[in-house]
Amino acid sequence: MIPGAFDYHRPTTLAEATGLLAEHGDAARVLAGGHSLIPMMKLRMAAPEHLIDLAAIEALRGIALGTEIRIGAMVTQAELIAHEGLAAACPILREAALQIADPQVRYVGTVGGNVANGDPGNDMPGLMQCLGARYALTGPDGSREVAARDFYHSAYVTERAEDEILTAILIPHPAPGTGYAYEKQKRKIGDYATAAAAVMVGRSAASIAMTNLADRPIWSQAAGAALASGDVAGAVAAALSEIDPSDDNRGPAEFKRHVAGVILKRAIERARARAA
C-alpha cells in the first residue's frame, strides 16, 4: 500500500494545468479528490510519474444556477449536498450524493472526479446521463462539450482525450413538476452499487439510467420512452434488456439482474409519486 515515486504539481490556473499535462503526456495524471486514483497508486496499479493536483484552481470550483446548472469539476460531494439552491433546482443530485461513500469521503471526493474517471461503479455518471448533462472539457486546442450519454465507452475508457481536463458539468434545469428518484442497493456504506437506478419522470418525458450493471453506465432511451407513455413494465423490461451485469462478490449476474428490475421499479414508483 505504498505508491511508487512521483512528482507533485499544484497549478493555480487551468492553462498551467493543461500545459503540464501536455508536457508530461502519458506520465502525468490529474488529481481531483483522489479517492479512486490514490488507492490505485497505493496498489501500484497506477504509477504516474507526475501528479497534477487541481485543488488550487479556483475556476474549477463553485456551483452556479443560471439558465442551466453549472457544477465546477472540483466541487466536492459534500458541497453539492449542502447547496440549498441546487437541492431545490435538481433534488435528485442531493439524494444520489447522499448514497455515495460516507461523509469523510464526500468531504474530499469531487463530482468531476466521479464522472471523469469512467469507473462503472461510480454513481454520478449514470445520474448525469439520466439528467441529460454535458461535460465541459479543456485541452491544448481549446474547450468543447460532450454529452454524458456519449462520454462513456467502457470501463475507464471515456471520450476525454489524455491531454484534456474535465472542468465542469452542465445540467439543464428539470421541467417543473418532474418526479425523481435515485435508488441504490449496496452491501454496506461506502460500497459500489449492487444495482442502482436514476429515474426522472415528468408529464410527457422520462429518463432512466442504471449504474454498475455493465462496463459503463446504461441510459436506456427505450426505457425512458416507455415510461413517458406510462408503461412501467415496458420501461423496466427495456432497461433490463440493455444491462450486462457480471459476477462479483456482490453476487452472480442472475441475482443482479433480478435486483436491478426490483430497484428500477421502486425508483419509478417513487419518482411517479413525486411528479406533480
Binding site: 505504498i2 511508487g4 454496506k188 460500497d191
Partner: protein
C-alpha cells in the same frame, strides 16, 4: 464514629470497586490521539522491512533474483529462505505442534505467503525493492476444498511431511491429513441414533473469516549488540510466551530478550500467533545491528495472518417424540490451510469444540474432528471467542433449530425442555467438561418475557399470511440462541501452550502514601484492563481504583503470564489480582492489629479499613496501614507492602446468555434489516457494567459482521477474493443495529470474586442468533438451513430456491 464519618456504602462508592461503571482510564489518551502503538515507535537508525509475497496458492519457487533490488539506493538487505537456513530459522514451530515456513523454502502453499524479506532505510525504498525482486514460479495444482484435499489423488501439499504417518496429535491417514481428534462415546451414540424416535441431520458450514483488528500486526526488533540484549515491541497478545518462544527459536538466553506490547489496536485472536514478519525483523536486526520495523498493511493482514473458523460440521441429533434430546453426533472437517498454525492449548487440536453439547442435558455424544491441509493461509485462531467455542455454539444452536423443525416444535420450548437444570450444577457433560454454575431457565424466561416472544410469533404468523395474500414482500425472522461458553484457559493440569501452563499472575506494590501499582501477565487490546483490574483491587484492598495503576505488557517488569485471549484475563489474571490483593490484606491486618494494639483476630475488614471488633470507632484505614508498613518497625513483620500471586484456576468458567434477534427480510432483494436485538448475558459477578455493555456491543457487531457478510473467500485457483475492506465486511455505525442489553448474575463458585469473563460471549451467542433469525424467516416455506454469511445474494437465493420470486 460521628455523623461526619461516611457510612459503609458511601466509602465503598468512593473506591469505585466491583460494580462501578467507572469510566475507562485508557480513553483519556486514546480520545486525544496520544496512544502509543507499534507503528508510533521510532528508534534512531531504524530500518523498514517489507515482504515479497506469492501471487500463487501452490507453486514451486524455481529461482529468486534480488540483484536489482539490492542495487536500489536505500536497500540494506534481502533475506530469503537460503539466508535463514544456516540459522535454522527458515522454518518455525507453530502453536499447534506443526512447523511453518518463515520464507518460502522451495515452494509456496498459499497466496500471500512470504517469499523474501527486504530491509531498507525507509518504507518507500522497501516497497520499490519488493517490485524489483524477480521470482520464478512453477505453478502446481491447487486444492482449496478440504474434502477434495483428502481424495486419493489430491495434490501433495506438505512434501516436508512425506512418509510421516504420525503427527503432533496422532496418526495421519492421508498426505493432506493433519489429525483426527475424537471425544465421547461413539458406539453408545450411534446406538442411540439408530433407535431414536427422531433424528435430525444437517451439514453446517462455519465459513472462513478473519479477526481484522483495526491495527494490523507488526513489530520493531532492536538488537543491542553491545549489551547482547534483544528488545521487541510488537502487537503481541501473549508477550511472555513470545519471549520464551523467541528464546527457544533463536538461542538467545531468555533474560536477554525483552518483549514489550505497547498499546494494541484490537487483537481478537489475530495477534496470538507468531508470524514470519517477527522472525525476519529479529534476524534483520541481528544481522544489521539496527532496529527493524515491520508492519503489515491491510491486504497482507487479511491474506496472510491468521484466519478464523472454516469448519464443516456434520451433525446428527436424536430426540424423543416430545423433544427430549437423547444423543448428539458430530463430525468436523477442519480446513487449516497450508500449515497447522491453530492457536489452541496443546492438548486440544480442535480447541474446546467439545463444548458442542451446549446448554443442554444430552446424555450421550460423540465428536470427531479431522484437520486437513489446503492451499489457504494458515491460522485457525479464536476470533473473539475461546478456542473453537463459537463454532461449537453455532453448531449446536443451528442443530436445535433443525431439530425443532423436524419435531414441529417451537424452538424456544425445545430449548427449555432440554436445558441443564440449576440443580444439576456442577454439571458433567457427555464430552468431558464440568460446567461450574448456571441458571438457564431463569435467564431464558427473562429473555422471552423481555421481547414478548409470544407476540412476536403471532406477528410473524400474521406476516406470513399477509405475504401469501400478496400484501407484503417482507418476511420476518425470529432468531433464538442460548449459549454456554467455556473460557478462562486454564487449569495447568490440562491446559498449556508449547508446554507453558496457562496460569496467570499479578504483582502488587502498595506505595507509602496509599496508592499502588499492579502488574499483570495479561495485555489489554481494548478490553479496559487498566480500569477493571483496578476495580477488583479497590474492592479487595480498600484503596480507590483511581489511585491504582495497572501495568501490563513489558516482560522485564510484569510477572509471567500467558496473555489475553479466550476471555481468560478476568477468569485467570483477575483471580490472581484478587488473590494478590488478599495477601496484601492479610499483612495489612497484622499491621492494623499492631497499630491498634489488639490481637490479629480482634480486627475485621470494613470496606477500606480494619476495625476493632465491637469497637467501630477504633480503626486503621488502608492508607494509614500503607504508611505504617514503610515507617514502623513491626516485630515479626518485614517492612513494605507487596504481594505476588500466580493463579492456576481449578476449572474453566462457563458464562452463558440468552439472545433474541428479530429481522425483516426483503424477499426480492435479499436485504435484511435487524429490527431488534436483545442480549442477556450472565458473566457471573459484574466488575464494570459500562465496560460489559461496551464489550457486548462490540462482540455483537463482530457477530453481525460474520453472520451477515464477513468472509475470506477463495476462488478455485486459490486467489483471495476478499482482500480489501471493499469486499471484507467490517460494519460501521451505519450497518450496526440498536442493541438491548440485559443480565442475570450467577457467580462462578470457584473464582475468587465469582467473575466469569464476558468479552467473547456476544460473538459466540450473536453469530447463531443472527443466523437463526435469517433461517427462521423462511421456515414457513419449508426451508431448513442455509450457510452463512447471509449477505444479500445468498438470502435472495434462499427465496429464489423456494420459488418465492414467482
Amino acid at each position: 464514629m460521628n455523623e461526619m464519618t461516611p457510612n459503609q456504602s458511601e466509602r465503598a462508592e468512593k473506591l469505585k470497586g466491583l460494580g462501578s461503571s467507572r469510566k475507562r482510564v485508557e480513553d483519556v489518551r486514546f480520545t486525544q490521539g496520544k496512544g502509543n502503538y507499534v507503528d508510533d515507535i521510532k528508534l534512531p537508525g531504524m530500518l523498514f522491512g517489507d515482504f515479497v509475497r506469492s501471487p500463487y496458492a501452490h507453486a514451486r519457487v524455481v529461482s529468486i533474483d534480488a540483484d536489482a533490488a539490492k542495487a536500489l539506493p536505500g536497500v540494506v538487505a534481502v533475506l530469503t529462505a537460503a539466508d535463514l537456513a544456516p540459522l535454522g530459522l527458515h522454518w518455525m514451530p507453530t502453536l499447534a505442534g506443526d512447523k511453518q515456513m518463515v520464507l518460502a523454502d522451495g515452494k509456496v502453499l498459499f497466496q500471500g505467503q512470504e517469499v523474501a524479506f527486504v530491509v531498507a532505510t525507509d518504507r518507500y525504498a522497501a516497497a520499490d525493492a519488493v517490485e524489483l525482486i524477480e521470482v520464478e514460479y512453477e505453478e502446481l495444482p491447487v486444492v482449496t476444498d478440504p474434502f477434495k484435499a483428502l481424495e486419493p489423488g489430491a495434490p501433495v501439499l506438505r512434501e516436508d511431511l512425506a512418509g510421516k504417518t504420525e503427527g503432533a496429535h496422532g496418526p495421519r491417514r492421508h498426505h493432506n491429513h493433519i489429525f483426527t481428534w475424537e471425544q465421547g462415546d461413539k458406539d453408545a451414540t450411534e446406538q442411540v441414533l439408530s433407535g431414536a424416535d427422531v433424528v435430525a441431520e444437517e451439514m453446517i458450514y462455519y465459513h472462513r473469516t478473519h479477526p481484522c483488528p483495526l491495527e494490523t500486526c507488526g513489530c520493531v526488533a532492536s538488537m543491542d549488540k553491545v549489551a547482547g540484549k534483544l528488545t521487541v515491541w510488537g502487537t503481541f497478545q501473549a508477550p511472555h510466551a513470545v519471549r520464551t518462544v523467541a528464546s527457544l527459536i533463536s538461542g538467545i538466553a531468555e533474560h536477554n530478550i525483552r518483549i514489550i506490547s505497547p498499546d494494541i489496536g484490537g487483537g481478537f485472536g489475530n495477534k496470538v500467533g507468531v508470524y514470519p514478519g517477527y522472525i525476519c525483523s529479529i534476524v534483520a536486526s541481528i544481522v544489521t545491528g539496527k532496529p527493524v520495523k515491520w508492519v503489515e498493511d491491510r491486504m497482507e493482514n487479511l491474506m496472510a495472518t491468521a484466519f478464523a473458523r472454516d469448519y464443516w460440521m456434520k451433525g446428527r441429533i436424536a430426540a424423543t417424540k416430545d423433544g427430549k434430546i437423547t444423543g448428539l453426533w458430530c463430525h468436523v472437517t477442519a480446513d487449516h490451510g497450508g500449515f497447522d498454525a491453530c492457536a489452541d492449548p496443546t492438548k486440544f487440536p480442535a480447541g474446546f469444540f467439545n463444548i458442542c453439547t451446549g446448554s443442554y442435558d444430552i446424555p450421550v455424544a460423540y465428536l470427531a474432528v479431522d484437520g486437513v491441509y489446503t492451499n489457504k493461509a494458515p491460522g485457525g485462531v479464536a476470533y473473539r471467542c475461546s478456542f473453537r467455542v463459537t463454532e461449537a455454539a453455532y453448531f449446536i444452536e443451528r442443530m436445535i433449530e433443525v431439530l425443532a423443525i423436524k419435531l414441529g416444535m417451537d424452538a424456544a420450548e425445545l430449548r427449555r425442555v432440554n436445558f441443564i437444570r440449576k440443580d444439576q450444577f456442577p454439571y458433567h457433560s457427555a464430552l468431558g467438561w464440568e460446567y461450574d454454575s448456571g441458571d438457564y431457565h431463569t435467564a431464558w424466561d427473562k429473555a422471552l418475557a423481555a421481547v414478548g416472544y409470544e407476540d412476536l410469533r403471532a406477528e410473524q404468523a400474521d406476516r406470513i399470511e399477509a405475504f401469501r395474500r400478496g400484501e407484503t414482500r417482507k418476511l420476518m425472522g425470529i432468531g433464538l440462541t442460548f449459549f454456554t461458553e467455556i473460557v478462562g484457559a486454564g487449569p495447568v493440569k490440562n491446559c498449556d501452550i508449547l508446554g507453558l501452563g496457562m496460569f496467570d499472575s499479578c504483582e502488587i506494590r502498595i506505595h507509602p502514601t496509599g496508592s499502588a501499582i499492579a502488574r499483570l501477565g495479561t495485555i489489554s487490546q481494548g478490553q479496559g484492563h487498566a480500569t477493571t483490574f483496578a476495580q477488583i483491587l479497590a474492592s479487595e484492598i480498600g484503596l480507590p481504583a483511581d489511585d491504582i495503576t495497572i501495568e501490563e505488557g513489558d516482560t522485564d517488569t510484569a510477572p509471567y503470564g500467558l496473555g489475553t485471549y479466550g476471555s481468560r484475563s478476568t477468569p485467570v489474571a483477575g483471580a490472581a489480582t484478587a488473590m494478590a490483593g488478599r495477601k496484601i490484606r492479610a499483612k495489612a491486618q497484622m499491621i492494623a492489629a499492631y497499630l491498634l494494639e489488639v490481637h490479629d483476630d480482634d480486627v475485621e475488614w470494613d470496606v477500606d479499613r480494619f476495625v476493632v471488633k465491637g469497637a467501630p470507632e477504633r480503626f486503621k484505614t488502608m492508607k494509614e496501614i500503607a504508611f505504617a508498613a514503610y515507617n514502623q518497625a513491626i516485630p515479626g513483620l518485614e517492612p513494605g507492602l507487596e504481594a505476588v500471586s500466580y493463579y492456576d484456576p481449578p476449572n474453566m468458567t462457563y458464562p452463558f446468555g440468552a439472545y433474541v434477534c428479530v429481522v425483516d427480510v426483503d424477499v426480492d432483494t435479499g436485504v435484511t434489516d435487524i429490527r431488534r436485538f436483545y442480549a442477556l448475558d450472565d458473566c457471573g459477578t459484574r466488575i464494570n457494567p459500562m465496560i460489559i455493555e461496551g464489550q457486548v456491543h462490540g462482540g455483537l457487531t463482530e457477530a453481525l459482521a460474520i453472520a451477515m457478510g464477513q468472509e475470506i473467500a477463495y476462488d478455485e485457483m486459490g486467489n483471495v477474493k476478499t482482500g480489501t475492506l471493499m469486499d471484507f465486511f467490517v460494519p460501521t455505525a451505519w450497518e450496526t443495529p440498536h442493541y438491548e442489553t440485559d443480565w442475570t448474575t450467577t457467580p462462578s463458585p470457584h473464582h475468587p470474586i465469582g467473575a466469569k469473563g464476558v468479552g467473547e460471549s456476544p460473538n459466540v451467542g450473536g453469530v447463531p442468533c443472527f443466523s437463526n433469525a435469517v433461517n427462521d424467516a423462511f421456515r414457513a416455506f419449508g426451508h431448513v438451513h442455509a450457510h452463512m454469511p447471509h449477505d444479500h445474494w445468498r438470502v435472495w437465493k434462499i427465496a429464489h430456491d423456494l420459488g418465492l420470486h414467482g
